[in-house]
């Protein structure tokens, strides 16, 4: 099943059971239904689906107003960039609401697509979800595979409180990655562990799980056993499980495909260096070239074989 089809299916399942919910956004129930993300939404009687105006700032305020009044809602959005118009509400309105502990009266989820597929022009450089959420310590979740999609949507989509859940445009038409198992996931659904190995710890951020998974398999095929983690939430994540793993492996490869200068992976690396257990570390991140403001492929490319070969030569 394709990544988008699976997420659409899970959204439908989670919404169908919910009482008193308003679903809104531009073309949420018309035309392509946000490229298929919201196709076929079914709601209980008394709930609402609104094909809204093109007013991202005020639509965000609308969701917070509903929340203040005890009505849950989801604001679906075609592009994370559009949410830049709502930053006043994401910071100021959310701060007011949570300062008075009013956020648990209802659920408000903003569900944008991170347009990271490239060739969109200068406006599509925003793909660093961690940085976006960091502005007001907003709970946020990236969906990268079948397992985390199930866990995050079930636990968070309509849970009381506010959060942003995002998917990758780049992965929309790809077959959804289905890891064999989840070895560990924390209560907040922010850190997932998919494999355990003694030689190396691989950790991915933002939407770099596909590359991390590929790298993991390349190491495995060469007889090197790695642990594989993905950090889905950029904010206030407790990565104790990763720190424990590194005590044994002592070697890390961290991946982060964010375009901006500040990347969440750096926070983890600082913690791991401070722990004093590291013997080697590799950070794989985007190489930002002069043409980054123009239409480009915008993909973090990795030479998996080369990395594994260098690793083998080193050890």
């Amino acid at each position: 099943m394709k990544y988008l089809e699976f997420i659409n299916k899970k959204i439908n399942e989670n919404i169908a059971a919910h009482e008193k919910i308003v679903l809104f956004g531009q073309n949420v129930n018309a035309g392509s239904c946000i490229g298929g993300l919201t196709r076929g939404l079914k709601i209980k009687e008394g709930n609402m689906i609104i094909n809204s105006t093109n007013s991202e700032n005020s639509l965000c305020g609308l969701g917070f107003g509903l929340m203040l009044s005890g009505v849950s809602s989801i604001f679906f959005m075609k592009q994370l960039d559009f949410l830049l118009l709502s930053i006043d509400h994401l910071v100021n309105t959310f701060n007011i609401i949570r300062s008075l502990k009013l956020e648990n009266k209802a659920s408000f989820t903003i569900f944008p697509v991170t347009v990271d597929n490239g060739y969109q022009g200068p406006q599509s450089s925003l793909n660093n979800f961690a940085e976006f959420c960091s502005i007001a310590r907003i709970p946020g979740y990236c969906i990268t595979n079948k397992k985390d999609a199930e866990e995050i949507l079930k636990a968070k989509l309509t849970k009381p409180g506010f959060r942003i859940i995002t998917i990758s445009q780049r992965l929309v038409k790809e077959e959804i990655i289905d890891p064999e198992q989840i070895l560990f996931v924390n209560d907040e659904k922010t850190v997932f562990q998919y494999n355990k190995g003694k030689d190396l710890t691989i950790i991915s951020f933002n939407f770099s799980f596909p590359q991390a998974n590929e790298l993991f398999l390349e190491f495995k095929n060469n007889g090197i056993n790695a642990s594989l983690f993905n950090v889905n939430s950029p904010i206030e994540t407790d990565w104790e499980k990763i720190r424990e793993d590194v005590k044994t492996s002592k070697n890390i490869i961290v991946l982060d495909d964010s375009n901006s200068h500040n990347i969440a992976a750096n926070s983890l690396i600082v913690d791991l260096v401070s722990d004093g257990n590291l013997e080697s570390k590799i950070l794989l991140k985007k190489e930002i070239k002069n043409g980054w403001l123009f239409p480009n492929e915008d993909l973090m490319k990795i030479d998996y074989k080369k990395i594994v070969l260098e690793w083998k030569n080193r050890f």
Partner: protein, 309 residues
């Protein structure tokens, strides 16, 4: 009977005035750590809206919210304590002035960001519609906030979703130190709202009986038709002064905006600041004898001093 009502309305208006004058004096003495936006001149609007609000109605305010918090909360001491950031304050000292709200009195949201509250109010109105409360959302902004894009977006949303609400503009013509003609072209709000087919009502003169009567009619219209109503009040935020600055050697006329109002003194009795209908206390002469206004003023002062405020 009407005399009793007029006296009670007059009492509420003058009490808000004197409460603000006292805060102004404490402000001058440097007793507050937080910024406060006083609302001299807004008293009649606040009292009128308070009188019109039904139990299910919700109100969403801006940074200049003091008159409404006094009108709805009717507890000066708790608001003062809030300004001192004391635990005894109306929000336990957690909100201060610019975000002060009082959910038990229907003040469910207050924002100091210009135009921020319009769209939050649209969410509240939509929730009321879904929940069949028969209540309306009332949101307030000034002539500055209607310059924000969110004002247009929210009007559009209110009309498109058929939301029962009041979108109220307190037009005092000033945004900080610039008057409308110094910063922008005129906006004819009646024409502007008619473009959205939104009902518009303009009120001025500070007659509370007239204000209450009109607001009641507008509320009935909003509830009956599930429609927004835009109400523009002509208001003068009192406390203007001549700012002396190197850039203005002859001084520049400035409408009062924030901080203590330098030209307003507590000793002014019966609490009149301006001898025109721009001053809600002066305008009370339409309802009450001057001697009665002075009597009420003295009554309030005695009461407040006995409470050791």
């Amino acid at each position: 009977m009407n005399d009793d009502i007029n006296r009670q309305i007059g009492f509420d208006i003058i009490k808000i005035r004197i409460s603000q004058m006292m805060i102004n004096e404490f402000y001058k003495e440097g007793k507050f750590k937080i910024p406060i936006h006083l609302a001299f001149g807004h008293e009649t609007i606040a009292v009128s809206i308070d009188r019109v609000m039904e139990e299910q109605d919700k109100i969403l305010l801006s940074h200049r919210n003091i008159a409404f918090n006094l009108a709805r909360g009717k507890n000066f001491k708790k608001i003062l304590d809030e300004y001192y950031l004391k635990k005894e304050g109306i929000a336990e000292g957690k909100l201060g002035s610019m975000n002060l709200m009082n959910p038990s009195k229907g003040i469910i949201y207050t924002s100091s960001i210009l135009g921020n509250n319009f769209s939050v109010a649209m969410g509240v109105a939509l929730a009321q519609k879904i929940q069949h409360t028969k209540g309306i959302a009332i949101v307030l902004g000034g002539d500055g906030s209607m310059e924000e894009g969110s004002f247009h977006e929210s009007l559009l949303m209110a009309k498109s979703l058929k939301l029962p609400c009041f979108i109220i503009i307190e037009n005092n013509e000033w945004s900080m130190a610039t008057s409308i003609n110094e910063r922008r072209c005129n906006i004819d709000l009646e024409k502007f709202t008619s473009a959205y087919e939104i009902k518009y009502c303009k009120l001025s003169g500070n007659n509370p009986i007239k204000y209450i009567e009109e607001l009641k009619k507008m509320r009935e219209y909003a509830v009956k038709n599930n429609e927004p109503v835009c109400i523009e009040f002509n208001v003068t935020t009192l406390g203007d002064w001549i700012m002396k600055h190197d850039d203005y050697p002859k001084g520049k006329f400035i409408n009062y905006h924030a901080g203590p109002a330098p030209t307003i003194e507590l000793k002014t009795c019966p609490a009149i600041i301006k001898t025109s209908e721009q001053d809600p206390v002066y305008a009370l002469k339409e309802l009450l004898d001057e001697s009665e206004i002075i009597k009420i003023s003295e009554e309030i002062r005695t009461q407040m001093y006995s409470e050791q405020i």
